[in-house]
C-alpha cells in the first residue's frame, strides 16, 4: 500500500475513505474536509475519528457540562479547574491535591481483568501528569444481579484487575462502592478514582510551548493494542451481530507504570519539563494534538521514531494505538540529556519524537514524508458539539406514582426482625470485605481511614498531620426515580461521608454513567442529572474539578439506571482528630442527627423485600446537609464525638449494624416517641447521621446542635453484645455478623 501523504491527498481528492467505519458521521467528515480544504490523509482521518468520538470530544454532553463552570461556586481552594487532566485543590500548608474519577466500563465487560486494570492505570497517569505523586485509589463498581452467572465472570475479574494493578503500583485502595442491580447486566460500571498530592509549585499542565523545545515520548513501546478502542469501544452500543467490531483489548503492565511514576516524579523534582500529557484514550493522536492545541505554537513529529513493539504497525495505527504506560513531555533542549538519563536509570524507554515549532500546525512525518498537517485545535478542542434532543420519558409519571410508601410493611416485631436480617444480608447491604480484602490499604504508610469507613483518609504531611478524605457515592435507583434529585443525593451522600470523618468538603469530581445519548429519554436523564449536580455544587460550595462521562451503557433499547457517581474531597488539618465509624466504648450515647420522614422510595428495603422501584427518592435539603456537615466537623475538631456514621441506603438499622460490628459492641435502642419503629429503622431520609457521644460531652454536644438548629435525638446507648431495639427485637452481634459477612463469599468464593 502506498503511503497516504498530504501531497497524495491533494492529488487524489476523490478517494473513498472509511469514515463511517471509523465512527464518523457524514457531516463530520464533510467538516474535516472543510477545515483542511482537501480530503484528509488516512492518518488525519484516524486522528479526527478518535478525537471526535464521544469519549474524547464529549460531543453529546458538552452543552450540559458547561453548567459546572457557569454555576461554579466562589471557592478559593480551586487552583486548576475543569479542562486539564484533573482539577487541583489547595489544601493548605503549601500542598495541593488533585483527584479524578474515570470510567472503564465497556472494556471491563469484554475482558474484566485487563479492562479494570487499565482503568486504574489510566486514571493514575492523569494524576501523575498534573505533577502529583499518586497516593490512593478508589473503585466505584456496579454489576448485574449478584446471582447472575455473568456476574461471577465479571466481578472476580474486575476486582482482581483493580487489585492486581493498584497493589502492584503501591497505591492504597481506600474506598469505593459495590452495587448489584439487574440493570447493569451486560453493562457493568467500573469507575476508578485516583488522588495525588503535590506542592503548589509542582503543578504541571498539558501544553506545548517554546519553539525548539523537544517532544519526548517515554514509557512502554507502542503496540497494536486497543486500536480504534476509543471510537468503537466507548461510543457504540454493542451489537452482537457484528463481533468483528470488537478490537483488541489493552493489556496493562503495572510494573512499567510503577517505573513511569518514579521516573516522572524524579524528572519533576529536577524541573525538567515544560508541559506533560499522559497517553490514554486515542493515544498519540490525543497527546500530540492536545499539547499543541493548548500551547502557543505548532508541533512537528517524526512518527517513525516511535519505539514499536510490533514493527508492522502503520502510521495510522501508531497514532491510534492505546498501548498503556506511556507519557509525552515537552522538554527544553538543554534538559533533554538529563531527562533521558533519568529514564535510563529507571529502565524506561524514551525517545525524542519531535519539537515545538513557531507555526500553528501539527505536522507529522513518516520517514520524511508528511502525513498530517492540521490545525491542532480542530482536532483536540473544536470537535463537533451536539444539542441532542431530550424529553421526559412517558413512563416517568407512572414510575413516580407507584409509591413505595404504600408497600406492605412488617406486621409484627418478629417480622420486622426478619426483614432487618434479610436487608442487611442482601448483596447490596452486605459486607464487601471479601472484595476489599483483595486490595492493599496499608501501603505508603499514610492510610488513616479506609473501607469500610465512611470515607478514605490519608495523611498528607507526616510532620503536621494534615490529611485529606475522599468518598464516592451514587444511587442509580434514586436517579431513576428523579435524575435531578438523584444526582443531588449522590452529592449529598458523598459530602456527608466526608464530613462524618471530620474532614471539610472542598471540591468534587464525578463520573456520569448513562445509556445512549441518542435516546431522548436518556438525554433527559443526563440533562436533569447535570443540572441537579451543578445546582447542588453551587449550594454546597463545592466546585466540580473534573470528571468523566460514559454514555452508551445500554443493551438494545434498555439503558442502565442513570448513575451519576460523585466523589467529594475534603481536608482535615489534623488527622488525629478524625472520627471513625466504630462504636467501641460501652456507655457512649447514641444520637440520631437530622429528621426522619416516611421516605421509602428507591430504598434498600423496597428492593430487598418487595423487589420494587417506584415513588420518589428522599427529599433533598442541601442547607440541612451543610449544617449537618458543620456539626460533624466541629464535633470532630473539638473531640465531642467518639464515632460517627452517615445514614444512607438501608437507613438507620444498616448504620447501627455496621458501626456495632466494626467496634464489636452492641447497642440498646429506643424508638423515639411519635415514630413508627419500621420507619425509624428503614427510612432513607437524607441529611442524617448517627453519632456516639461520650457522656462527658453530651451537654456540650446537644447545646451545639440546639444552638445551630440541628435536630438531635437521643436514641440509645452503646452496650452489650446485641442490638436491642426495645419493645421490638433483639439481634445478637454474632448472628448479625454471620448474616452481614457470609453473603458475598457465598456468592463468589
Amino acid at each position: 500500500m502506498t503511503l497516504d501523504t498530504v501531497k497524495h491527498a491533494n492529488e487524489t481528492p476523490d478517494v473513498d475513505q472509511p469514515w463511517a467505519e471509523l465512527g464518523l458521521k457524514q457531516d463530520e467528515y464533510e467538516r474535516i474536509r472543510t477545515i483542511l480544504g482537501r480530503r484528509p490523509t488516512g492518518a488525519e482521518l484516524a486522528m479526527y475519528s478518535v478525537m471526535w468520538s464521544e469519549h474524547c470530544s464529549y460531543k453529546s454532553s458538552k452543552v450540559h457540562l458547561r453548567q459546572f463552570g457557569e454555576k461554579a461556586p466562589e471557592n478559593d481552594a480551586l487552583l486548576v479547574g475543569i479542562g486539564e487532566n484533573a482539577g487541583v485543590v489547595d489544601v493548605g500548608q503549601g500542598y495541593a491535591v488533585t483527584f479524578k474519577v474515570e470510567s472503564h466500563n465497556h472494556p471491563s465487560y469484554i475482558e474484566p481483568y485487563q479492562g479494570a486494570a487499565t482503568g486504574v492505570g489510566g486514571i493514575v497517569r492523569d494524576i501523575l501528569a498534573m505533577g502529583a505523586r499518586p497516593v490512593a485509589v478508589m473503585d466505584p463498581l456496579r454489576f448485574g444481579a449478584a446471582d447472575h452467572p455473568d456476574t461471577k465472570r465479571v466481578l472476580p475479574g474486575v476486582v482482581a484487575g483493580i487489585g492486581g494493578y493498584g497493589n502492584c503500583l503501591g497505591l492504597p485502595n481506600i474506598g469505593g462502592e459495590v452495587v448489584f442491580d439487574a440493570c447493569y447486566q451486560g453493562n457493568p460500571l467500573v469507575n476508578a478514582l485516583c488522588v495525588g498530592v503535590m506542592k503548589h509549585e509542582d503543578i504541571h499542565l498539558a501544553k506545548a510551548s517554546g519553539a525548539g523545545n523537544k517532544v519526548i515520548l517515554y514509557g512502554a513501546r507502542t503496540g497494536g493494542d486497543g486500536i480504534g478502542g476509543v471510537s468503537v469501544l466507548a461510543s457504540e452500543t454493542f451489537d452482537d451481530s457484528k463481533p468483528t467490531k470488537r478490537p483488541a483489548v489493552q493489556v496493562g503492565d503495572p510494573f512499567q507504570e510503577k517505573l513511569l511514576i518514579e521516573c516522572t516524579l524524579e524528572i519533576f523534582r529536577e524541573d525538567l519539563v515544560d508541559g506533560i500529557q499522559d497517553l490514554g484514550g486515542a493515544g498519540l493522536s490525543c497527546a500530540t494534538s492536545e499539547l499543541a492545541s493548548a500551547g502557543s505554537g505548532g508541533m512537528r513529529v517524526e512518527l517513525d521514531r516511535v519505539h514499536l513493539r510490533d514493527a508492522t504497525l502503520s502510521p495510522e495505527e501508531i497514532l491510534m494505538s492505546e498501548s498503556q504506560e506511556r507519557m509525552c513531555a515537552i522538554v527544553e533542549p538543554g534538559k533533554v540529556d538529563r531527562f533521558l538519563e533519568i529514564c535510563e536509570k529507571w529502565d524506561v524507554i524514551a525517545t525524542v519524537i519531535g519539537e515545538v515549532t513557531d507555526g500553528e500546525r501539527l505536522e507529522i512525518f513518516w520517514h520524511g514524508e508528511q502525513i498530517v498537517d492540521v490545525p491542532p485545535r480542530t482536532v483536540a478542542h473544536e470537535g463537533p458539539v451536539y444539542e441532542r434532543p431530550y424529553a421526559r420519558p412517558d413512563w416517568q409519571d407512572a414510575l413516580q406514582a407507584d409509591d413505595a410508601n404504600k408497600l406492605a410493611r412488617p406486621q409484627s416485631p418478629e417480622e420486622l426482625r426478619a426483614q432487618v436480617l434479610k436487608v442487611i444480608s442482601s448483596p447490596n447491604q452486605a459486607s464487601k470485605s471479601w472484595i476489599t480484602d483483595q486490595y492493599d490499604r496499608f501501603v505508603q504508610g499514610n492510610t488513616v481511614l479506609a473501607q469500610p469507613e465512611d470515607s478514605g483518609m490519608v495523611r498528607v504531611d507526616e510532620d503536621t498531620d494534615l490529611g485529606v478524605a475522599v468518598a464516592t457515592d451514587g444511587n442509580g435507583r434514586y436517579a431513576k426515580l428523579d435524575p435531578y434529585a438523584g444526582a443531588q443525593l449522590a452529592l449529598a451522600e458523598s459530602y456527608r461521608n466526608v464530613a462524618a470523618t471530620g474532614a471539610r468538603p472542598l471540591a468534587i469530581s464525578n463520573c456520569l454513567n448513562f445509556g445512549s445519548p441518542e435516546d431522548p429519554a436518556v438525554m433527559w436523564q443526563f440533562a436533569e442529572a447535570t443540572r441537579g449536580l451543578a445546582d447542588g455544587c453551587l449550594a454546597l460550595g463545592t466546585p466540580v474539578t473534573g470528571g468523566n462521562v460514559s454514555l452508551y451503557n445500554q443493551t438494545g433499547e434498555t439503558a442502565i439506571h442513570p448513575t451519576p457517581v460523585v466523589a467529594v474531597l475534603g481536608v482535615i488539618d489534623d488527622v488525629n482528630r478524625r472520627t471513625p465509624m466504630a462504636f467501641s466504648d460501652e456507655g457512649h450515647l447514641l444520637y440520631l442527627l437530622g429528621d426522619t420522614k416516611e421516605e421509602l422510595g428507591g430504598s434498600a428495603w423496597s428492593q430487598v423485600i418487595h423487589d420494587h422501584l417506584g415513588g420518589l427518592p428522599p427529599a433533598v435539603d442541601l442547607d440541612r446537609e451543610k449544617l449537618l456537615g458543620e456539626i460533624l466537623i466541629s464535633a470532630s475538631r473539638d473531640g465531642m464525638v467518639d464515632a460517627a456514621h452517615d445514614l444512607s441506603d438501608g437507613g438507620l438499622i444498616q448504620a447501627l449494624v455496621e458501626s456495632c460490628l466494626r467496634g464489636g459492641k452492641g447497642a440498646r435502642i429506643v424508638v423515639p416517641d411519635g415514630l413508627d419503629a419500621f420507619v425509624f429503622l428503614f427510612s432513607e431520609s437524607a441529611g442524617r447521621a448517627v453519632v456516639a457521644v461520650p457522656r462527658s460531652e453530651e451537654l456540650r454536644f446537644t447545646d451545639m446542635c440546639g444552638a445551630r438548629g440541628l435536630p438531635a435525638t437521643r436514641i440509645g446507648v452503646v452496650d452489650g453484645e446485641e442490638i436491642d431495639v426495645q419493645g421490638q427485637f433483639v439481634l445478637p452481634l454474632a448472628e448479625l455478623r454471620t448474616a452481614h459477612e457470609a453473603t458475598i463469599p457465598a456468592l463468589l468464593a
Binding site: 469484554i110 475482558e111 485487563q114 512502554a220 503496540g223 497494536g224 493494542d225 470488537r246 483488541a248 483489548v249 489493552q250 493489556v251 503492565d253 510494573f255 512499567q256 513493539r309 510490533d310 498501548s323 498503556q324 529502565d347
Partner: protein, 81 residues
C-alpha cells in the same frame, strides 16, 4: 490414564509484560542470543477413559471457553505421549 496438554499463549499482538521482563533480565545473567521470550500457561489434564476424537473435541471446547481467554489468548491441545 492419558494426559492431554493444553498450551495457552497470549496472542502475538498482545503485550506480554512477563515475557518481556524475563527477556530483559537474561543479558544481565549472562545469557545472550535470545531475541524474544513469551510466557504462557501449560495445563496438564489427566483424562479418564479413552482420548478419542469426541474427548478431544470436548477438551477443545473446554480450552476455548474456559482455560483460555480467546479475547487475548490462543491455545493448542495435544495428547501427551
Amino acid at each position: 490414564m492419558a494426559r492431554v496438554v493444553v498450551d495457552v499463549m497470549l496472542k502475538p499482538e498482545i503485550l506480554d509484560p512477563q515475557g518481556q521482563a524475563v527477556q530483559r533480565a537474561l543479558p544481565r545473567l549472562g545469557f545472550e542470543g535470545i531475541a524474544d521470550v513469551r510466557q504462557g500457561k501449560r495445563f496438564e489434564l489427566e483424562v479418564e477413559g479413552p482420548v478419542d476424537d469426541a474427548a478431544l473435541a470436548r477438551i477443545h471446547e473446554m480450552a476455548e471457553t474456559f482455560l483460555a481467554n480467546t479475547v487475548i489468548e490462543d491455545f493448542t491441545v495435544r495428547v501427551d505421549s
